[in-house]
Symmetry: D3
Subunit: 145 residues, 6 copies
């Protein structure tokens, strides 16, 4: 664990993004509100916010830090993709990119879980479903804020 | 939540895979055991196993089920990639693909956290680091085992 | 803790109910989808399902048991009340009334949290908001199922 | 989640109350220290304090905040009622009424669990037991403390 | 993680013991019910039972298994020692000695926490307090029960 | 719970130590990297760091506080003993000796779990294995740091 004792508390923000590829029929079901388990995008948002707050239990060397905001946006782009973007803010001694990444990943995994019954092929396998390109798109550290 | 009350307990197994793209210098540091925070691959393994057991707290509509085995393999492939493969087994009323996916994702995120100090550019951004292609590679349901 | 070692695994189900009294204006906002923090009823449902799975960590002497289904229904009744009903099913050595009660309580508390900005008076107090009558409405134990 | 980044850290306190209605015979057993599972009031106190600290995991949009004090009082009033009062203090950017409510609810649910064997009727139902009137009785925000 | 897929579910029980050495004055305060933070022995019991249920989150390679009973006994022996004994039962594919050890350790640590204000010397150090000899005193595996 | 509302945030550090006695053959296996479940010392380190962050959930009356560093050292001393030393740092209103003790205990218990297959005798009992002398070796409170 990195020793952050001597670091000062400053405003920090991080944004992470990722996407999940689903079958076109599944995307159609989401658009029409016909997914049996509930609303995948809204459930993903709740799961992502909860996961951000749980980061230091999931990632062994992460510091437990207070978060002043977690925001999660999940939206359909194109015929077979959902993009998720997580933004986390704090005023702390270390950055929150891991919190943003964990939040984004948890949201994408939740979308998988909510739609998996429509993604399986006849052998119960998932040849189409794919979580792609989880990365940090922005990190801010602002001493004047 | 899907009602699994009427389903019978059978042997189930799922395997999930994903990878993380890191800078070549970071991969070199891992190979030479020079990562300051510790061993990224072994830490990822521990984090992945713990996360698998925590799946029903992270993914809202997952059932809490006992697991008889979680195995996680993390290895360097090529100059800038680490592949992670998680295998989960159980004897339960529902499958364990979400547990395998959660385990794989937590391991990849842990590798990010362990190496992030070497991945940042001079502006504190992560232009190279990327988690890619998390998917279920195998699902087994065997009534005779 | 009650020793349930000698008890046999049978089908069990429990239903719990409770309600929350809110201001009429708040109920109007919910009906019109205008609550700033999101959808109180759907968020309550997710929180209630997650809480049911977490019962043995919250209630000290509860046994950790697998759940085969958790269902939560939250609906507006009249001008100022939301009713929550949680149903939990399992096949286990002990009943699930505590899981149903915990699920119901967590859902009601989540509705409070989602709407609290509209419930405060000018002094920041909550003279109207009230969680009422949480109770077990049905418990089933069926050896033939 | 409400963005509290710009809010200042001030002293905050919240008090929540609720009660549980039990059978007179059960109240008698508690008074005489004859409840087989242990001391319902003391166990409720411990469960309520632990739950307060766990609020941001239970209530999806709650901020994780440090708490400087959690106090819980559970007492018998009349022949068939136990009153629970939870007080939570902090110095933070947002209030602690949800922590007080969660603490109070967890304590009441724990009393149910500790006494449920005496509350069931011959059909295993709970026609008498009732958790009532959980509400916030006081909220303080003091910039001078 | 050991693969227990092929093992059969049998009755299993484990007992663990340990002790904590405190100052004689502290033991006197416990005996007279004068510990300001509450009852150390009863609080230890609750903490030990909760910890047993949390074993697979604390110990990375432990399997998550249902427990049919956790019992914890904490008693004063002599002038300066408290003995803790934890007994855990299950019907599962693997043993519960880790659950018994974790339960015992959590109970002993809780006693430390409850009494630490009386154990410090004038420099805020703990020259007297000592947790000793945590071990498994009995392990049972019975195919006929 | 002690009310720490009025206390000021100062630098605090605590160190806890303990040891586990194992069979000489087991120590040999660890030295030669032949333990089947993995690396007991490194796994103990990860488990100890995670446990420190989880202290306020395990020990009922502990305050949830941010930690700026957790460090854990596990090393073989002599033929049959492993010493574990946990150091925890923070800037908070209360000390971190419980976090250091919990971290140390979790690490020792993890070593037990990782090596238990070599410690059992022919009856499945553990006559040799013993966790010994967990204590706080240093506590620092420094207003000038």
């Amino acid at each position: 664990m990195v020793d952050i004792t001597g670091k000062s508390e400053v405003y920090r923000e991080a944004m992470a993004r990722g996407s999940i590829h689903l079958r076109e029929q599944t995307i159609e079901l989401i658009k029409r509100g016909k997914v049996e388990k509930g609303d995948p995008l809204y459930t993903a948002k709740i799961a992502g916010i909860l996961a951000a707050k749980n980061t230091s239990s999931l990632i062994p060397l992460c510091h437990p830090i207070p978060l002043t905001n977690v925001d999660l946006d999940a939206k359909i782009v194109g015929d077979s993709t959902i993009d998720v973007e997580a933004t986390v803010k704090t005023r702390a001694q270390t950055g929150v990119e891991m919190e943003a990444l964990v939040s984004c990943a948890a949201a994408l995994l939740t979308i998988w879980d909510m739609t998996k019954q429509y993604e399986k092929d006849q052998d119960g396998q998932y040849p189409y479903t794919l979580i792609r390109d989880i990365r940090v798109t922005r990190k801010v550290k602002d001493r004047n804020r």
